[in-house]
Every structure is written in structure tokens, then in C-alpha cells.
Symmetry: C2
Subunit: 374 residues, 2 copies
């Protein structure tokens, strides 16, 4: 995805966001913030840069208008907001890093976006000596984490669309036995698009022992009867992401599986319930993990409980031990504990949750149980 995405009152929205970035820069004594590929740039300008070797860079200083350094070739694809940023196009034989460096004259502390190519930072360091570089995520992240009402509505719509696909899975409308994981993955992907997604980010389908690898790629393995099928899928709709995991079982699950699933179910519900304003991120992890630990499966829950979500599929805040960040209204994150028995089976249950002043609200409301298909 690249190019500008225009929405109503976008100019005022971007102006207000960049002004908040400047306030945060002031507070942290940062002279300039540099944003290249990644989602901070469209969050502040509406423009998605091509993730290629031609540099695009938004330079935010304490001047009133930011500068968007962009390949001349791409400049026509930027929707301009003259009060917010000026466009600085560069030609094919110019060095864009030196253009950025000129805009940084005198800057002592420079924040750089997470996903900027390290190449450009290395090149910049040879132009801008004696400056200190810090992470832009600490400047823009807190703003991006706390979603406003429009953003939450976009997450809700994306979640509802993912729910409709999960419902089809649970209703047995997506054939499983006899098809490969890859075929089912393609089927789920097509259904996400049918339900309104613009892009599919991933559609993990993992059967039986493959489900024990949390990031398994759907492959040539043919799905059999009497095994668990883990489906973890999501995409982007109107610029915001969905992400859901449900497991189904074709046949009759063993007692071991049903009892482990009841632990997982309780752990996930506890994680969601813990996602209240004022709690720490690590307490969400702890709430889910305690139930799995207490049931004796602690060694088989091998990842953090969740990640933030918004314009990106994974973004701050992370629900992980050690993250003492306090949850505020508008924080959106996954709650997705799992139990993985290597070589045997795995299971995971995931919703996207938004913290609100009225408590945690789940964007995914489709049946949370291990649905048995015949």
C-alpha cells in the first residue's frame, strides 16, 4: 500500500497530530523527528511511502510547517496539506540524505522512526555528526496507542468482518478435511476480502502437530479427521487491522484436548477482563498466564499474551511481562494466550480488545469455544 489516503477534515486532523508531536518533542528536548516507511508517516500526513530504496522522509522540526522529502517520481501521489507540510521532491541524481541533512542544521537530538531503513540512518550519521539519535516511537507511539473514536470504530468494523469469516469456519462452511492447510488459508483470505478487507495480512492454518508452532505457515499438509485446526487470520480494512484466532476440531477431541482448551478459554477471558484502564500491560499477561501456570501448562505457553494493533498489525503496547506501561482509554491490543505441545498439538484463542472508561470492549464476539465439526 502506498499513496495518499484522503478522508474528511484530514488536514485539520494531521495538523493537530503534528502539533502534539511537537509538544512531545519539546518535552523531550528533541530538535527533529524523522519518519520514513512505517505507519507514523501516514498517521501524520495521510501518505504511505513505498517501501523501496528511494527515500521518503518527513522532517518535523519546531518550524510551523514540516517537510516531506519525497522522490520526484512519487510526488504526484502525495495529497498536499500546505499548512501541515511542504513537499520537497528530489531528483534521480540527487542524494536525498544530504537534502534531509540540510533540513536538520543545528539539530542535536534527532528522533528516527522505527522502520526507517538503517542504511539511511548510517548515511545520515556521516552528514550529521555529534547529534544524538533517539527512537521516534517514544514520541509518536503514545499518541498512536490511544485511539480516538473514529479509529476505534474502524477497528470494530474490521473485527466484525473477521468475526463473520470465523463464523463461517465454525459453521462448517469452510471445508477442512482432505484439503491442505494452504488451500484453507487461501479460502479464508478470499473470505476476508469478500467481507470488506482491503488487504489480508496473514491467514495461518495449522493442523494437528503443526498448531504447536505459533507462527506456522500454512503448507501442503492435508487436514485429517480428529485433529485440531488452528486458524489465525487478519488484514486491513479502511486503514485499520483485524486479528483473530479460533480453533475448530473435526471429529471427537480427546479429554486432554478439551480440558486444556477449557484452561485456555478461562485464561483468555481473564486476560480480556484484566485489560482495564489504569492496569499495567504486564498485568494482562500475568492474568492469562496465571491460569495456564496453575493448570500445569506454564511451560507450553511460550509467547507474550498480546500486541497492540491499529494501523499496524503489531504495534505498541505489548502485553508482556516487564511492560509496566499503564493502559489508558483507547489502547487496543490482542489477548491471545496459547498452549503448545511440541510434536502433538497446539491451541490459541485471540480477540482484539479496546480499553475504555467503561471497561475492556472486545472487537471479536464470535463463539470462543472449541467448536466441534462433523
Amino acid at each position: 500500500m502506498s499513496g495518499s489516503v484522503a478522508t474528511k477534515n484530514a488536514g485539520a486532523l494531521y495538523a493537530s497530530r503534528i502539533s502534539r508531536v511537537r509538544q512531545e518533542m519539546q518535552r523531550r528536548s528533541i530538535d527533529a523527528t524523522l519518519l520514513s516507511i512505517g505507519h507514523d508517516l501516514p498517521y501524520l500526513t495521510g501518505y504511505y511511502a513505498m517501501p523501496l530504496e528511494r527515500l521518503t522522509m518527513l522532517v518535523v522540526t519546531h518550524e510551523s510547517v514540516a517537510a516531506l522529502v519525497v522522490p520526484r517520481l512519487e510526488a504526484p501521489r502525495v495529497t498536499p496539506f500546505d499548512d501541515v507540510f511542504r513537499i520537497v521532491p528530489w531528483g534521480e541524481t540527487e542524494n536525498p540524505v544530504s537534502i534531509v541533512a540540510k533540513l536538520l542544521v543545528g539539530a542535536k537530538t534527532i528522533a528516527v522512526g522505527d522502520q526507517m531503513w538503517a542504511r539511511f540512518l548510517v548515511e545520515l550519521m556521516s552528514f550529521v555528526t555529534n547529534a544524538k539519535f533517539v527512537r521516534a516511537v517514544d514520541v509518536v507511539g503514545p499518541m498512536r496507542m490511544a485511539k480516538d473514536a473514529n479509529e476505534i470504530e474502524a477497528l470494530r468494523l474490521a473485527g466484525a468482518a473477521a468475526d463473520r469469516v470465523a463464523m463461517q469456519l465454525q459453521a462448517g462452511e469452510i471445508a477442512l478435511v482432505g484439503r491442505t492447510e494452504a488451500q484453507v488459508s487461501a479460502d479464508i483470505s478470499a473470505r476476508l476480502i469478500d467481507q470488506g478487507h482491503d488487504v489480508v495480512n496473514f491467514a495461518i492454518v495449522a493442523a494437528g502437530e503443526n498448531a504447536a508452532s505459533p507462527h506456522h505457515h500454512a503448507g501442503p499438509r492435508v487436514i485429517q479427521e480428529n485433529e485440531i485446526v488452528l486458524c489465525d487470520f487478519g488484514g486491513m480494512m479502511n486503514g485499520y487491522c483485524s486479528d483473530i484466532t479460533r480453533c475448530v476440531f473435526v471429529g471427537t477431541p480427546s479429554r486432554k484436548i478439551t480440558s486444556a482448551y477449557s484452561v485456555l478459554y478461562a485464561a483468555q477471558a481473564a486476560g480480556v477482563k484484566a485489560g482495564v484502564v489504569g492496569a499495567t500491560c504486564e498485568s494482562v499477561d500475568a492474568a492469562a498466564r496465571k491460569i495456564i501456570d496453575d493448570a500445569g501448562f506454564g511451560d507450553f505457553f511460550i509467547h507474550r499474551t498480546g500486541h497492540g494493533i491499529g494501523m499496524e498489525a503489531h504495534e505498541d503496547p505489548y502485553m508482556v511481562s516487564g511492560n509496566k506501561l499503564t493502559i489508558v482509554a483507547g489502547h487496543a491490543f490482542s489477548v491471545e494466550p496459547g498452549i503448545y505441545l511440541p510434536g502433538k498439538w497446539g491451541m490459541r484463542l485471540e480477540d482484539i480488545v479496546v480499553a475504555t472508561d467503561a471497561g475492556p470492549v472486545s472487537m471479536n464476539n464470535v463463539d470462543h469455544s472449541l467448536v466441534i465439526l462433523n
Copy 2:
């Protein structure tokens, strides 16, 4: 795409490549090379890292076995080559950057991969003070640029598959008039997969005045009779990329268009012909550009003539004024001049070319003319 891609004798290939990296590091007094996301990592290890916030990093020092720092979660997806690299998994509550830093003790000059997230470099700078950072592309790039026989064969197969889709376009098998650019783009994408591609990287379809924007996104514009339709598409097949541009015209082109096209045709042929071993990259650009300049269209050829191609759609070497790099056997690059009249029409003609000791060899051999469809 992520996970390991295994091929025959892969271990020996990776060992040999990493050993050449170490030789180049020695020559340049580089103590360590750090490779994260991007294609240098799979080039040296077969492993594609997930482009996410969890750090994957290959640390190549002058020790005999490199270290692959990888999220514990992803470790099962790495095909190990114990003689080439050891796997250093990190847990969800560890700081992977400090693990990398420990592997770098004493390193004074550190090369970092182009596409590593700048976030990790910024964080690393707080652990590794007084080190100098340089670009890993200067170490690994020359090796990756000069493709071996297997790599050239992969490019040839990908090019032939793209040619078959272009042939369908030129034969009128892909309906144009009355469909939107986006529909035709989806059609071309599906045909690339049908012809053996694993992934579609892009399928630009630009009609009429839209063709004047070189990176136009296929959109809702309905294709009409009597306009040029520019199609620029490519993807990945067996790990190597294709990229081709052909223009077709439904109806009767004006004299202006046919005469401009004949200039473009000659310019592209001249660019291909100039891509000989021993020439500079900028001379390929100059050869194509001179013909367009001489015909008076110089102001309307607004981009470089080409980019390198291989595991990545765009990589070194770039065919651009100022690039005095000498072409060696195995260099693979696009030759794609264009003429763009803003608001009116645009045209581009592109082949992938491999420089060999026997002269430039085109990976695309489908008809180069402006094919007229009725």
C-alpha cells in the same frame, strides 16, 4: 514470506558465501556485519526473517561460525546449518539488542544491513558506544549483484513466465476496454500465479493520462478505446524476481503516439545493447536517454533507466547518471526508459537484462512493439 527455504547443497553454498563476506570484511577492516530483515540474510543462510518488531539478526564476525539471533518463537522455522551459523534464540522477556551487543564485544567497525529497522540500530548505539557504523550493502552487495549460473537460470524462468502473461496481453486474451484498471491488474496478477510465480510484487495497469504517472496504482478508472494501456508487472518465482513492462493500444493510435513509441523502442534497445561487461552503469542510462533527448522528449523521461534485480525486485546496481560502477558478468538489471506527458499519456518499455561475457542477454523476449488490439 518467512521461514527457511532449503535447496540442494545449500549448506556448502551458504558457507562459501559467508566466507566471501568475511574476506570482504577483512579487506575493509570491518569487525562485524549485522543482517536483519532484507535479502542479505536469506542469501547467506536461507532464512527469511519476519518483518516484525521481534528482532532477528545474523551476526557475522571473524569467528568461524556466525550467530543467528532469532525469537525463540521463530527458531523452529530456521533450517540449521551448524557449520555456518549457530542459533541464539531469545525469549519474550529478554532484550535481543543486548544479546546482539554481547556478541559484538570489541567490534570497532560494524556494518549494518540496509533494511534493518533503524529502531534496532538506535538501541544498539546505546550499548555499543565508540563503534563506527557502515553499510553492509557495500560488503554483501557486490557478491549479490554478480549472479551465479543457478541464479541466472532462476531469473530466466521468472522472466519467461512473465513473458507468457505479456503474450496473453498482446494476444488480446486479457479483456481491457470496459474494465477498470484494478480489474485488469487482478487478472494479470492471477495469470502470473498461474504461470508459476509464488508471489506477485506489483501489477501496474495505467490507462491514458494515468500512464503518465510512472508508479500509478491500478484504480477505478475504466479503460476506453483509443488510449494507451501501460502494464508493468512482476513477482517472485523460486526466490527470484521478474519485472516487465509492455504497452498496448486498443483502437488507432495517433501519429504522435506511434512516433514517440518508435523513439522509446529505439532507446530501450540501445540501453539493452549498452549493458555490456566493462561498461559503467551510468552509460546504460546515457545510451537510452540520448535517443529520447535527441528526439526532444528529454524532459519527459523523468526517472533513471533501470534497477538491479534478483532476490529483490529493486536492488543494486542502479542504471542512473552518476553511478560509475562497472558492469561485471552476472549483473542483472532492468532497462526501462519511459516517456510521460502529464495529463495526456505515458509509455514505458522494460526488459530484465543479464550481462554476460557473451554480451547482454534479455530475460524478456516477447514482442517489444506497441501492439494494437481491436
